[in-house]
Symmetry: C2
Subunit: 337 residues, 2 copies
Amino acid sequence: MAAITIDDVAARAGVSIKTVSRVLNREPHVRPATRDRVLAAVDLLNYRPNASARALAGSRSYLVGLFFDNPSPGYNSQIEQGAMSACRDAGYFLLVEQLPETGAALRERVAALLSAVRMDGVILTPPLCDRTELLDALAGEGVPCVRIAPTIDLGRSPFVYMDDRRAAYEMTVHLQGLGHRDIAFITGPADHRAAANRREGFEQAMRDAGLPVRPERVRQGAFSFLSGWECAEQLLDSADRPTAIFAGNDDMALGVMAVANRLHIDIPGTLSLAGFDDSPGAQVVWPQLTTVRQPVAQMAQVAAALLTGAPPDRDAARGRQLDFEIVVRQSSAVRGG
Amino acid sequence: MAAITIDDVAARAGVSIKTVSRVLNREPHVRPATRDRVLAAVDLLNYRPNASARALAGSRSYLVGLFFDNPSPGYNSQIEQGAMSACRDAGYFLLVEQLPETGAALRERVAALLSAVRMDGVILTPPLCDRTELLDALAGEGVPCVRIAPTIDLGRSPFVYMDDRRAAYEMTVHLQGLGHRDIAFITGPADHRAAANRREGFEQAMRDAGLPVRPERVRQGAFSFLSGWECAEQLLDSADRPTAIFAGNDDMALGVMAVANRLHIDIPGTLSLAGFDDSPGAQVVWPQLTTVRQPVAQMAQVAAALLTGAPPDRDAARGRQLDFEIVVRQSSAVRGG
DNA sequence: GGTCGGCAAGACAGCGCTGTCAATTGCTCT
DNA sequence: AGAGCAATTGACAGCGCTGTCTTGCCGACC
């Protein structure tokens, strides 16, 4: 209860508080023997420096902000997990904030926020990472940020991303490998860069395999269950059906699955299905969904590490690319199998 | 950039910094005219007090901790949303921490955490809210907490909860109202208090309606998709089937749905199905799941409000009960309809 | 042997705010 | 009009730590 302060440690170790401070902050000019003595005292007293005092006196706050404005619980949750784990390792703390505002209101809120609590850096998740006014506000306050999967102004800040294009390419190859030649694709919102990348990956893979991409086989969805449902009705409600459908995200894939069930189209017997994201829903349906797992948590982890200055290789390129994973479950199988 | 301090405001308003402080903290003994002048200066300069300095000098830190150790993204996400909204309204900030530890390690981590950043209160979500060692550690540090849906030691702290028993009762009544008399129930883990409450509510409703609760109609699940699947196979794989199944949570209900699909049992034509939680998955299947919506976000909001001292009625009982909602979707319908 | 250079460690002054206590003001009451 | 009292306001000392500057010390070098 009676909080231990740096003075207690200094007294115990027989040094000045400044020396304790130096040890704690890994500053140079401390003899190894002295350092050991201090560390022993710290351990003995179980001392933890007070974050508020540090923030007030010094230039660091040991706080990392995580800003989001994304209704997807699964995504946010993974991001948080990753960011938190990196913060913990670096002795930092995670402050989360939802920023539903846009435009001037956003700028204001961010300014207010940052003047109240100084942050050593913030992590921006989609779609915030592409909000120019936010980037401006952050830059104006001099707060560094790392963006996750940004799509514009890539030069403005370090960022972490996954190669949607290549992932979609490989998923398409997976379906082709199962014998599918007539594969339909349901794409996401037109203004969504990642959606476009996925579609490009799909089309490239088809071309590379010498397969045609029939226009009626590419449907425009909206990344929602319902839009997947609607596209599926168009794709499946005739005798001329594709043997496989690759949906641009899992929600839409689940919409396809619902329609297939209603029409008694067997998955994966008659129709193979693949999604993208490995959302929580992908495993609570039957058959479980073949999908692309994004390294979401890992991206956040890297982002946080970049901010806390404990990155594995700090001098890597500004854009850090992480690997996806093709998760093959029961919804895709050999054609006609 | 050149941060504005309380001195700037004081100078602008022509008062001492202490008076500004008083206004900001809503302390008494400030003449309305003075208060207005100060507030005008605050507005003009767009001043926000520095949280670190406040925390260091005063007894409050304006930080609320949200501790969790729950793999359910949907739940956490809602909790966070609710807690954040209440914090924002009260001028507080939300610090999230995952505490995977148990026993002594938990105690230690919490102590370390709290000695580094003082928190004005913490919100404990299930299952952490029932970890005695955590409650002890918090009490030892003198940090108040509010628990969400705790099941033990109800007197130890204020808490917020929902009446699982009554919710299950009403869902059962809903199914009965559709004409179902042979209803099966899939319960959750035996040591899970909420699961037991739900089961009790179901059984009570059956008794009150004069309907038998046949032992083979109550199956032991584990709150997972797979366990729902297994229970459903036992319940549905014979001619003597219930006309409705009420699963103790949505994941299990989805397992039931998967089996029904496989067996070509029409939902809701032949079998009505109800879940509990209104998890994200409940809406990305077809038919969409009839379920019980827990006021998760609202519970967190109330919890945070309790902590930040801005509760609607602070002197209400220690346990604040919030209302659930029966969400009727397509998976339940009139028997034989 | 004296002086310089550099490492190690300490003294000291705040960071921006709140708590305490003292000083001032503005009223009421007689 | 003056005393008496509460309502206002301000002066000042830290909260626990880090940044800057200073001091002490040892070996190297000429």
